[in-house]
Amino acid sequence: MRVMAQLAMVMNLDKCIGCHTCSVTCKQTWTNRAGVEYVWFNNVETRPGQGYPRRYEDQEQWRGGWTLDRKGRLKPRSGGRARRMFTLFSNPLLPSIQDYYEPWTYDYATLTSAPLGDDFPVARPHSLISGEPMKVEWSANWDDDLGGGPDLARRDPVVERISDAVRLDFERAFMFYLPRICEHCLNPTCMAACPSGAIYKREEDGIVLVDQDACRGWRMCVTGCPYKKIYFNHRTGKAEKCTFCYPRVEVGLPTVCSETCVGRLRYIGVLLYDQDRVTEAASVEDDRDLYAAQLDVFLDPDDPAVRERARRDGVPDAWVEAARRSPVHALISKYQVALPLHPEYRTLPMVWYVPPLSPVVEALRDSGHDGEDAGNLFGAIETLRIPVEYLAELFTAGDTEPVTAVLRRLAAMRSYMRDVTLGDPADPGKAAAVGLTETEMGEMYRLLALAKYDERYVIPTQAAAEAAALEETACSVPGSGGLDGAAPVSGPFGEASGPPPTPTAENFHALKDRQTSGALTRPQDRRGRVNLLNWDGKGSPDGLFPGRDGDGR
């Protein structure tokens, strides 16, 4: 077991109103530069929909993520090392700018400089790629709110995987929003595909970054990433990606997308995981076991053995503490209401989602039923196959069972809390039916519905981690015997040999001495030292003043 810590995110999709504030603030912060006009580190997709870039989920076409070879070992779907070396000179699997969208600006100058005439001057769109006038035909969220009609949404690769019978009238059935950032995977394919080794995962917080000085512009990462969340800057010729706002999280602030989220649907916290089991989990045979396998890689920070091991593996105490309070850990492992996006890509993504119950509630309400009633909801989750199957294709490789379980929990919480709010007696049976106690139900409700800023974002700073590490580098003067009460330094070669005791050990002994000795100074302390911090100002303890006879007493 090797314990590592990672900052992870959970998004509660029930709360997303599709306002794109996260995308806009992210763009203003990170990608408002030439060369990345078309790049959205954070984007919000309407589902069902084709997504951005168009149909990125169709891995038959783009070949992102991992697959298992004949021996059951992981291999990037786009090809292993040898194949990549031989196909270095062109990468047909790279989406072209049209698959994202051709970015444009408007010729605003004509609005003021046009000569006086009968017609209003019009600012025409100009391509930011070629500079030519262009016709705007697609963008990062062209099919927002199911715009463009069912024909566009029907081309959603996830819809195509659902059985035909269910597919017929899905567009009337439901719609929800899916905000996406880089998944900061435990087993990222972009990293595996990078010929230069420029993409790395930070040991401290698991953030996946591109070393801009090491990237040589081979563009293989774009192909490798099944989420298409790594982009090619066509001006600098380097890959760029979501940074998890590392300059912010390092000092304890949430990412810009989280900070500005209007629906307050994002949670950031620490997850502890076992690095030794990552590859094993990513290579389980059945796609549908990947969710459970990844859950199994996460470690319980409340387990003393894990904490002990974490300390030995160099995870700072502040991070282990943060992991215990982590809302992400609670939603993923404790209440198990969050699910990974497309686990079948085998990258072990670290941005998870609480699937939306609203499609089910709305369907019930539309059909004239009480959408908050537990019985109705449970029944609907079982019978409304469209949303559940769709969600399963998104979050559990098509296995409807975990999705149903999550939706049942959310439905039970809704119904249970309605009783409480309306003053009816709380029904412990509703909690027990989904395997929760009443306390847990209350806590889950608080986390999902009320959680305040500091409950949603539990982010330990890097400074705290570094300070803890620095503590041990300070040293006292060798051979001085350390601080008050510490044993005189005496190594194997006599006085002053061997390493000095660490300050924490010294402080520990000093504190213990102070707390356990009854006297102000120990009478046997012939060195005559007094700890002034412990002196209450009464009397004059031995050794505070030099003796009159000059012997120090």
Binding site: T87, L88, F89, S90, N91, I97, S130, E203, C215, G217
Partner: protein, 241 residues
């Protein structure tokens, strides 16, 4: 003149190659990239780029064979006529592949709006030199070695080339070589001199380590960033900006 062209110039070019590469590695790692335009256009690139690059790899291999390996060594394996045939046919094939690839690439660069917009003056100079060297190279292979019956450059050009690296330059050897060869060599060394200052530098980014590294890379947050200079000992002048 002979001394200038066949002794001084090659050494200057090689110094520029080494010095320029070191400089670029230390101070411009961010600019060290393929500057790919695949995002703009990929249909033509799909054909042209592998054609050009693989052609060029064989061309480079051929140069190594012809220039670095002394004639006595190859004569141990096969006769001069065999070598000549290999050099003529394989050389022409490789040269034509690279040339055709280059023509396609330049056509693509000119005709695709965004790709042309992303072309710098530096690129144009480089294409001119590369195209010229390649054309002359195909010229010496087909005309001198093919149509005119064959010129044994391994008696003159190759020993001269090796002499440069053995610090024993013999410019008189190049005096006797046909004009086409001499032009080809001069353009070749001009290309070498400019190499580190153009996009060609991406050739030195060949990911040789990739087949041997693990797929997943972990790195600590701390550590010195590349391309920054460590503090010097002693006093440093105060910057005034």
């Amino acid at each position: 003149m002979s001394l200038l062209l066949w002794v001084a110039f090659p050494y200057v070019a090689l110094a520029s190659l080494v010095g320029g590469t070191v400089w670029r590695y230390r101070y411009d790692r961010f600019g060290w990239t393929t500057r790919s335009s695949e995002l703009y256009e990929k249909r033509l690139l799909r054909v042209a780029s592998p054609l050009f690059h693989y052609g060029l790899l064989f061309v480079i291999g051929g140069h190594a064979l012809g220039l670095l390996i002394p004639e006595q060594w190859t004569s141990l394996v096969g006769s001069e006529t065999t070598y000549h045939a290999v050099s003529l046919y394989a050389g022409t094939a490789a040269g034509l592949a690279a040339g055709a690839g280059l023509v396609l690439l330049v056509y693509r660069r000119r005709r695709t709006g965004p790709v042309f917009a992303a072309t710098t003056r530096n690129d144009k100079v480089m294409y001119l030199l590369l195209g010229g060297a390649l054309l002359l190279g195909i010229g010496v292979t087909t005309i001198e070695n093919g149509l005119l019956g064959g010129y044994d450059y391994r008696q003159t050009v190759s020993p001269w080339f090796r002499g440069i690296f053995l610090l024993d330059p013999r410019p008189e050897l190049m005096e006797g070589a046909p004009l086409l060869y001499r032009f080809h060599v001069v353009l070749g060394f001009a290309l070498i001199a400019l190499f580190p200052f153009t996009r060609l530098i991406h050739a030195f980014a060949v990911p040789v380590k990739y087949p041997f590294r693990p797929y997943i890379v972990y790195r600590r947050r701390t550590g010195t960033a590349p391309a920054t200079r460590a503090a010097r000992r002693g006093w440093e002048p105060v910057s005034r900006d």
